[in-house]
Symmetry: D2
């Protein structure tokens, strides 16, 4: 079990400097917790994530899961901006309600070249998940 090497504050600073153009969008997500092999990110409920009918859109859910795993990965390998998603598999389980969405990300394998993880998307007070995601990141060789 690997310990995080970056704090929430360091991760927030890195994300803000690596992705300055995302500041607008980033304000919708809040990194709430980092622990060994895990992180929790909140997506604030907002018109900007909505699909007609008032539910959070599929792309917003996929983007949140991808973002949460990127953050937990950086937390454990340090600020490697070039890590990229190579595969993402999502099962949509039920329609999300009109409320904040939480991504509970977990690193399943942290290899030298590949990292594999899973992200469960849940809503406050509801034990039934909204979606379940597994994904793979390719990690560039270290200098």
């Amino acid at each position: 079990m690997s310990e995080p090497v970056m704090t929430i504050a360091e991760l927030n600073t890195f994300m803000a400097s690596a992705f300055p153009q995302m500041q607008g969008e980033e304000k919708l997500t809040v990194l709430e917790e980092v622990s060994p092999m895990r992180a929790r990110v909140r997506l604030r409920y907002s018109d900007r994530n909505l699909r007609p009918g008032g539910t959070i859109s599929g792309p917003a859910m996929m983007g949140l899961a991808d973002h949460a795993f990127y953050v937990v990965l950086l937390a454990h390998i340090g600020p490697v901006a070039l890590a990229v998603t190579t595969n993402l598999n999502i099962n949509f389980l039920r329609k999300p309600g009109q409320a904040d969405l939480f991504a509970e990300a977990r690193i399943i394998k942290l290899g030298k070249r590949l990292a594999v993880g899973e992200v469960t998307l849940v809503q406050d007070g509801d034990p039934e998940p909204v979606a379940h995601v597994t994904l793979t990141y390719s990690i560039p060789p270290r200098a």
Copy 2:
């Protein structure tokens, strides 16, 4: 091999009435072609789809693929607004360039309860795909 039961014009009218709030976003996508078991959708290159650095974001690619398969599915089963994505698996193959992105969607299986398809994302004049997606839709029972 099943023939489409809706034309491009009918599909555009249905999408506009079923998802009136998406008109803004929808203008970014253009349904270019519908043929037996296939459709082709263009995503116009725009600041709104961009990730920092000027490339089209992962969520935009996933959203385009999902949209394109939804359209080809409706084209073959008629206007069933309630068909929903249950699974989406995407392999990101290379960084997209600063140009329009095309989704070539194909129905692999059209069952009563489930439809399975694949979508290849490509850019103009480049034979190497940007991403490859497979996905499953659940089709509600007909009234």
Copy 3:
């Protein structure tokens, strides 16, 4: 959280009568535990599961994961022989050693028409998983 409706003994009896021809192969797997939304199945290490070099083959791992999820699903919905796998996604994480393999299966969603689950494959005394699987079963309408 749903409780199991079948015991280990009932599941073993059902599997033996529904799949009499698999008795030979079945002896390789042992259903060790059933609890709410979970089951644990052991695959005995054997020449029959091996890939050259002495490691457990990929197909044997996929088959074990599928079997374990089928069993945990039946444990919760009762003996529905016709439930079928519609999607299986596996990430191979590291080469298994020459030892028994355990499938820890968990139901993520138990719907009327679809069930979604995950299976982690591990070996004795090793916290690092060998493979991680998500899968979907289609459940036939009840009579």
Copy 4:
């Protein structure tokens, strides 16, 4: 578009020497065709691949797809025995009949570190596929 660098005869010789223990099982598969970015492998219908009820088992289908992509990959990168599957995603589309099964494998991306492909499983004379697979191989660094 990359040309194959190995012939069918060379691939058969390599497979026989790299996996001598698989000779028994290997006789069930026949490499029928290799062309740019593609290969076709036949799995002979046999009691050894059967699930009770006389249909080809899920693990046999996954194993065939994995084998077919391994062969088409080697055909294009040369005899690299250590290429390994990292991800496999399969959609089961319909029950196979009691007949030979064909795997039509295609390389979608051939990178330095990762290769991505798809495999369609079909049966003689039937245009509807039995299963569709996408998979990723990790390619070891060249000496």
